[in-house]
């Protein structure tokens, strides 16, 4: 059985339909590409932010823990007997104080001990001793 011959109008309508379908598909592809690209860009950007934050050593969880430990150690030492820290100086808080305060300037002394400190977060770490090797 042979197909019925189609009129010119029918052929035009089919071509038009195909063209419309193709246009719709192109649009779909474009939207899909845009959405995928945007998602990848968003992921890369957020990954980079987190990576830089962690890799530069500014892990918020670690810093928070260190601060808690430091605050606890500070509270423990201040509630106990007198320590070697300078009197009247806060031993908690992040850096931000203006430079350094010290118990003595450049000085000459014989047989007396002294101390100096700078404005950083409080100590939660063991002391270390430097001596000639």
């Amino acid at each position: 059985m042979s197909a019925r011959p189609r009129s010119a109008a029918q052929l035009d309508a089919r071509a038009l339909a195909r063209a419309r379908l193709e246009a719709m598909r192109r649009r779909t592809r474009r939207i899909r590409r845009s959405v995928a690209g945007l998602a990848v860009a968003l992921f890369v950007a957020s990954f980079a932010v987190v990576y830089v934050q962690l890799a530069s050593g500014h892990d918020p969880a670690l810093v928070a823990n260190a601060r808690k430990r430091a605050a606890a150690a500070s509270a423990a030492s201040s509630s106990g007997s007198s320590s070697s820290s300078a009197a009247g100086e806060s031993t908690t808080g992040e850096s931000g104080s203006s430079g350094e305060s010290s118990s003595s300037g450049e000085s000459a002394s014989a047989g007396e001990s002294s101390s100096s400190r700078n404005g950083e977060s409080s100590t939660g770490a063991s002391a270390v001793t430097t001596s000639q090797s």
Partner: protein, 344 residues
């Protein structure tokens, strides 16, 4: 592990005591893993860079008859440090005086008790500032880090000494930079640092009675102490001797300064400054302590040079900090000990 969550490893190394103190997790794992890594690394480096072990890489390099010798990256850095120390100190800090120090009686690890400092000072010759050697053999050292070679005339030998300890503290510091806080003590040369900027007490010990002369509280710094009290002995003529030589004479230096503690951005820098200050004598010593320090004189008195307010580094993120895994892997490969620990 201390009560504050700080992992501490202490060990005998480089003929003295070394320690690694770490708080918090970081690229080297937990605090305990990081401290253990530092311990293993120090022990490996001791075997590799000791002048007293005949099969160490340093001994083999010093005995090598070739002019250009392939070396590991850390050995290349040590050779570069010897050259830099000579340049920066005008030849006062000379890491090529191996023959002179062996002639002075320091040819092997000192095991016995040291000559008491007070006795050594009584017997010592008149005080004079040290000077550079005429030969300045450190200038003949050429390092090619890309090729991994050291070129020097055969016979020019490197002394690992204090420069190596400062360098090792700095390299370990690079490995531990992402932990909340750390302190590396390489036989008196310290590096203190960490991401959380936690302040740490640094006590300076007196060479006379081991009392604390001064306490610094810093979060990021290199510290080195050089002195003539601990590694001292009587030479074959009955004269006092120690390991800090006057490069101009090749004899132990008695300058009127018995110990200097220097602060600096790195432990290696601090080591160079401390030695240069001690060798340059009481008048010139403070000039070497641009970042602060403590000078102890013959009579037991001491002088404090306060660190300047800008001694603390600003919280700037460097490219090296952004790629800690690269730096850590390089250091671990250099140590040949860390890779397994990190994987675990």
């Amino acid at each position: 592990m201390s009560g504050r969550g700080e992992a501490i490893e202490e060990l005998d190394c480089f003929g003295s005591r070394c320690a690694a103190l770490v708080i918090g997790c970081g690229r080297a794992g937990t605090a305990g893993q990081a401290a253990a890594l530092a311990r293993r690394t120090l022990l490996v480096w001791h075997r590799r860079y000791s002048r007293f072990l005949p099969d160490s890489e340093l001994s083999r390099l010093n005995a090598d008859p070739r002019e250009t010798v392939p070396v590991r990256p850390l050995m290349a850095r040590l050779a570069q440090a010897v050259r830099d120390a000579g340049l920066l100190s005008g030849g006062l800090v000379d890491g090529t005086l191996v023959e002179a120090i062996e002639r002075a009686g320091y040819g092997e690890d000192l095991r016995g008790p040291a000559l008491p400092l007070a006795s050594a000072l009584e017997l010592a010759p008149p005080r004079r500032a040290a000077g550079a050697a005429a030969a300045k053999r450190w200038r003949e050292i050429d390092v090619d880090p890309r090729a991994g070679t050291i070129t020097r005339p055969p016979g020019v030998m490197l002394d690992s000494g204090g420069l190596a300890k400062g360098l090792f503290a700095d390299v370990l510091g690079e490995m531990l930079a992402t932990h909340a806080s750390f302190a590396i003590n390489c036989a008196g040369d310290l590096l203190v640092g960490g991401a959380a900027r936690i302040r740490r007490e640094i006590r300076v010990e007196s060479p006379f009675d081991a009392s604390t002369l001064h306490t610094f509280e810093l979060s990021h710094t290199g510290v080195a102490t050089s002195g003539i009290g601990r590694r001292s002995w009587l030479d074959r003529h009955g004269g006092p001797a120690h390991h800090l030589l006057d490069p101009s004479t090749g004899r132990p230096a008695f300058t009127g300064v018995v110990q200097v503690t220097a602060l600096a951005p790195s432990a290696l820098d601090a080591e160079i400054r401390a030695k240069a200050a001690l060798l340059s004598g009481p008048q010139a010593a403070p000039g070497w302590l641009a970042h602060g320090g403590v000078i102890v004189f013959d009579d037991g008195s001491h002088r404090l040079v306060q660190p300047p307010p800008a001694a603390q580094p600003p919280p700037v993120v460097t490219l090296g900090q952004l790629l800690p895994h690269v730096r850590l892997r390089a250091a671990a490969q250099e140590a040949d000990v860390a890779t397994g620990a990190l994987a675990a």
